[in-house]
Structures are given as C-alpha cells and as structure tokens.
C-alpha cells in the first residue's frame, strides 16, 4: 500500500492482465472454498445438503455448481443460532476486532465480523483503491461521516488513514437532523472532497436555499463529491457540478451484505470492483443462469480473502451488470454498474426495471427532474410511477415525461400524483414499513 502515498496512480494489482487476474482468482477461490468447507459450519451444511464437495483446485465449472447463498439463508442461520455469528466467520484463528451489521433490507439485520488482518489487508486495499479512484489524495481535507455500524464505513476509516487524507468529521449522521452541522463543517473547514450520499447532497442544497446562502460560496473549496446510495443521473451530476462548481462527481457504493464495493473513475462507466479481492458474477434473477458482460441481472459476490465473514456466491439482490469493454482509465478490473435493489424493482416482460432506471428517465425531462417518486404498481399495462408534485405539472409536461420515460424504459408508463414522503427511492426503501430497516 505504500505506493499509494507517493502519488502513484495505480497499485500494480489494478492493472494486472486478464490472464493474471483469472489465474489469481481461481487460486483464491480454491483456497476460500476449501477453507469454507473445512471450517465454516454455514457452508459445510449448505453444500453438503446440496451435494457439493469442493475439489482442491476449484474450476469455473465446479464453482458454477456451488449453491447460491441468499440473505434469508444467513438470516435463518443467525436465528437458529440466536447469534450474530452465522457460521461464515473465517477468522484465521484471530479474534474478531469489529462486528458490523447490514441495513436490514430483508427485515433482519445480519452481522459480519472483521479482523485486523482484513482491516489492514484486503479490505483496506479495496477501499483505498476506491477512494483513490475518486481522487482522494494525501493531505486532502475530506468530509466523511462513515457510520460505525457499516462494514464499508470501517474500511473507509482505515483507507483515509492509509492514504493520509485529513478527515473532516461533523457530528451525527447523514440525516436531516444533522444537515446544519454538515453544512457548517463544509463552510468552516473547507474540505476539498465530500464522501456523502445523494440524499445528503440534496439536503445540503435545500439547507443552502433555506439559509439563503450561495452554494458556490459555501462549497468554494469542494472539488469532488463521492456519492453513495443510489445511481446518479447525468442531469443530477451536471446540476451538482453547476451548483457547486465541482471538478467531478463520482458514484460509489456497494453492499454491506458481502462487504464489497467500488467507485467510478473519471470515465463514469460504473463501479470499479477490485477483482483480486472480490469476484462478482451476474445471474438472472428469474433462472439463476450466469449472464455475460452487458447483461442485466443480480450481482453475486464471492470474497477472495479470509480474516472476515466470508460470502461465497452470495446473492446481493442488487440489480447490476458488468460493463463490457476496457475502461479509459486503464484499470483492468471489472466495471460493475448498479441500478438498485431487486426488491424495489419491477419485472415487465422479462425485463428488470430498477428504481435507478426510473430515476435516470425522469431526470431526462426538465419538468420531472429530481422529483421524488415511487414505483407504485406493476400492472399488466406497464409501469405506474407515483410522482411527488405531479399535480402541479401542466398536462403537457406530465405526458412529455411519461412518453420520454416509456421510450427510455421500453415499456408503457403512466405517471400519477402520489404522496412520496421522502426525497428519493432509496429513502423510501429504507423507511418501508414492516421492520425493513
């Protein structure tokens, strides 16, 4: 990792050839799968039940026979043991240093364990690459509110340290209650980079407006924003660049389940995922078939290192695709584009329409740009979008947006007024009733 400090753009692993990555991947897969079968009760039980016994050298064909792990499998294991330890903890004989948990999208917060081996090793490497890709640099003031309950927050803490950035940390968390504190920190301490969520950015803009502040003045030192939480449309990015006079806006993020993530580079094609730390596959949510580059399905992740809770062929239930072709930035690791949660998506005519698709389509039309929405129903007639503030739009604007959205999505679309209490689809998901947190 030391080469990150001296201004190198890449570490050597990021530009490995496809052959090198493939070879290293299957070697790591063999080690992880072998260790899981030998030492981890969850996998031993699951695989034995499904008649899978790994060979010492796992081939791609072997690997494809490994049964998928779903969130509910982990929930069930945790419930049966009544323990945060569900049997996926590959601690290498070390004591766990931290426990983290997921946001609970399946109605149950699962837990994961980390060790110093991972926090100083592969987990750190992947996160440091992510921050570096987004232009976080040594000595740079970076606003960060990394939650201490989330694995990616812990990795972010260590990666900021490793890079030698100077974190700026407001009180609280990324919710409306603390938006004043966040804005004050931006104004007073003048960070060059913000690591936040899209929702937080919207809150900050609203707070500037409420205080009648010139956002360009408040954000005068901010050059970059790294946004997690939801896909960013091109109009939204341009809006942020204009309002804050930014050099660039990066989409980032990943999954607390599976504990992996990545960020866009300047090419904005999708998230660079470290292929020597995590192996991402895309499968059809309908058939389980492994899909090729450019095909949309749900992302499976396999962690390629131990010293942490290990996820093997874990279905993140995130709608995603691997973006084909080389990236102009020069990194050789796969670029994965994420569109949103499968549970929030709608399947019409065998097509998975994710909230991110709707967001991108609505933002293409000025009248519906950035308005909150909900995907209300999936009737046979097509997609119905409930749009906050739709009643204030002229009939022509509404029909223009519906037509544009339908063209972009390739399905019939109708837009109806709806009371959407939150500021985006991500928050609507988080606040869904019934204990889904």
């Amino acid at each position: 990792m030391s080469d990150l400090r001296n201004g190198e753009y890449f570490d050597c692993g990021e530009i490995a050839t496809a052959d090198e990555l493939r070879s290293a991947r299957w070697q790591a897969v063999s080690e992880v799968v072998g260790a899981a079968f030998d030492d981890l009760p969850f996998y031993k039980n699951l695989w034995t039940t499904h008649g899978f016994h790994p060979s010492p050298a796992v081939t791609p064909d072997d690997f494809a026979r490994i049964p998928l792990v779903r969130k509910l499998d982990l929930v069930s294991a945790s419930r049966q043991r009544r323990s945060a330890f569900s049997g996926v903890e590959a601690m290498l004989g070390l004591n766990p240093s931290n426990l983290v948990m997921t946001s609970g999208t399946s109605g149950f917060h699962t837990f994961a364990a980390l060790t110093g081996h991972d926090l100083d090793g592969a987990g750190l490497l992947a996160q440091a690459r992510e921050l570096w890709t987004m232009k976080v640099r040594p000595g740079m003031r970076v606003l960060s509110i990394s939650p201490a309950w989330h694995a990616l927050g812990l990795y972010e803490t260590r990666a900021l340290t490793e890079i030698g950035a100077i974190p700026v940390m407001p009180s609280g968390t990324l919710t409306p209650r603390f938006v004043g504190d966040i804005l004050n920190a931006v104004d007073q301490l003048k960070p060059e980079h913000l690591l936040v969520t899209a929702r937080a950015i919207r809150m900050l803009l609203e707070e500037c407006d409420r205080r009648k502040l010139d956002a360009r003045e408040v954000f005068r030192n901010v050059r970059y924003i790294g946004c997690a939480g939801e896909p960013l449309s091109l109009p939204f990015r341009e809006h942020l660049r204009d309002r804050f006079e930014l050099e660039d806006v990066f989409e980032r993020g990943g999954s607390g389940d599976g504990m992996f993530g990545g960020a866009e580079c300047f090419a904005h094609r999708g998230h660079h995922v470290s292929a020597d730390v995590h192996f991402v596959e895309i499968v059809s949510p309908m058939t389980g078939e492994i899909l090729g580059e450019g095909e949309r399905g749900t992302a499976l992740v396999t962690n390629l290192t131990l010293g942490r809770s290990v996820y093997i062929r874990f279905d993140t239930e995130d709608v995603a695709e691997i973006v084909p072709g080389p990236c102009p930035c020069g990194r050789t690791h796969p670029v994965v584009e994420f569109y949103g949660r499968l549970a929030d998506s709608i399947v019409i005519a065998d097509r998975v329409l994710a909230p991110g698709d709707v967001r991108l389509a609505l933002d293409d039309v000025p009248a519906t740009r950035f308005l909150s929405f909900a995907m209300v129903s999936d009737g046979a007639e097509g997609l119905v979008i409930g749009l906050q503030g739709a009643e204030e739009l002229a009939p022509g604007e509404l029909s223009e947006s519906a037509t544009g959205t339908a063209t972009r999505l390739g399905v019939p679309v109708s837009i109806v007024p709806a009371g959407v209490e939150t500021t985006g689809w991500k928050e609507a998901r988080i606040k869904r009733p019934g204990g889904r947190g």
Partner: protein
Amino acid sequence: MDPLPTWLQAAITRAPLYGNLLKRGWPTHCHEVDDLETVATNMDDPLGGRGDPAQSPVVYSQVAQDLALYWGLDAADLERTALTLADSWRDLGIQSGDRVGFYDYSSSPLVAYASRAFMPHLDRGAADVLTCLPICNDGLPELAERCAHILEYVQPSTLFIEADAVDPLLRVLDKATPRPDRMVVTADDRLVSTDKINEWQQTMGTTVRQMLRCDTALFFAPPCAYDPLTFHPSVTGFRVEAVDLDPADGSPSPGRIAVTNLAVRSSVVVRYLTSFHGVVRSTQCRCGRNGPQVTIL
C-alpha cells in the same frame, strides 16, 4: 495546585484563545463556550482559538452537535484520548474478550475513540487496547429496535447508550431480550437524575451507571462504584478543578467544574468551565481509588 506541565504552558502562549481571554475576574485561563464562539467568529477560526499552531492536525472533528466548533487533533492526541477512554472502560469493569455495544452516533467521543476502525488515524481504540469486540448502532431514537436486535444477537456485556436513546430502547425491549451486564448512560454536559437512573435500572433489570461527559472539553469520567454522583477522571488525561467564580464568597469549593485536558495537545484545553457544579477531592475515595474525585452537587 501543581503548576501546569511545561508543554502546556508553552502551548497556551501559542493558542490564540488564551491571549484573547480578558475575563471578568475569573481565574487565569478559565473560559466557556461563549469565549470559544467569540474567538471563532472574530478570528474566523473554526477551532475557537484553541489550536496550537505548532502542531499539525490529521483529523478535524466537530466538538458537539449544533456547535460550529472543531477539534484539530494529531495522531498522538487520538491515541492518548483512546487510552484515557480505555482507563474508563477498565474502571467500569470491562475486560478483555467482552462484547461492547453502543447506541450512540459514531461521532460521539465515547464511540469514536473505541476502535481504530471508527476514528481515522487512530492506531488503537479502547476496544483494541482491551481486546474487546465493539459493535455500534447509530444514535437515532428511531433505531431502538436495531439496538434491541444487537442485544439479542450480539449479547454485549456492556451497552453504552446516549441518555436520549434510553427510553426509546426500553419501549421496544421485551422480557426475553437478553440484558447486558451493565448499561452505561452518557449525556453531553448534563447528568441524568439519580431517580431516573434508578427507574431505568428497575425497568431494564440490569445495572445502570452514568459517566460524566463534556464534549466541549473532550472530557469523560467513569462513576465511582459506591457513589453514582462521584466520578473518577483519569489523572493522565485530565486535570479537574472546582472553580469558585465569586471572589466575594471566600470559600474555595464547591464551584464550577473546570477541565484541563492533558491528552490533547494540538487543541489546547485549559480550564474549560463545564456546566457541572461540584467538589473535587484528592483524598482516597471510599471505593479505594486514589486520585481526584469529582462529586457533582
């Protein structure tokens, strides 16, 4: 009292706040939050004049919610503060191998200094020092169910909880939810009444203790095992005085509790006046501890 350490005397001469204090007959260097805000405004200094220009902070963190003041701290400050927190944990009875839960924001000093994975540039947090296993909820009251979930599945022996989160948690707990061995309540710059602590203890069915905490001085102290209103601040981390602000009164104590922070040097905290009134004694406490003891009145 003993003179201030040499390094601190030198730091006072550099930190702008202390040259700007022209107090109303107060003891030397005594100040409160208004002084920090005044210097912050007049000098356009987010550190409120407490920054030592001879040091190079590696982290800036907000002093307290709704207060536009910040700490500028270097790695040694972070480590000393974490060691001070580890001392508090030991006093509370937390041991190696314990699981420690938090129902508070990750920006709270009592959380942030608990793990090197919570605070950038921190080499060892209190949990790392004591080899404990920390897990953090967030601090929002609406996340009480998630804290109950932690109690059920992680079964921490100690739960640190911000005072405002206790009632929301109690509302969602059922009888079958495992209780921690101890629940440690904290509130910034205020104490929860003993009656309330006792009520929580009865409802919770577990030991409930309270720490003394003042974020504006980056100060915390664990409670005495015998007297819930007496606290034992770390002698290496803090120097604590009861400052009588009325010279006509004549009696040296009780007074307002003033904190000098010996753990942080990049930001200089000398005689910060907390809102607590009390007495500071240096005789042996009946719990057996030596060193300063703060009894809040």
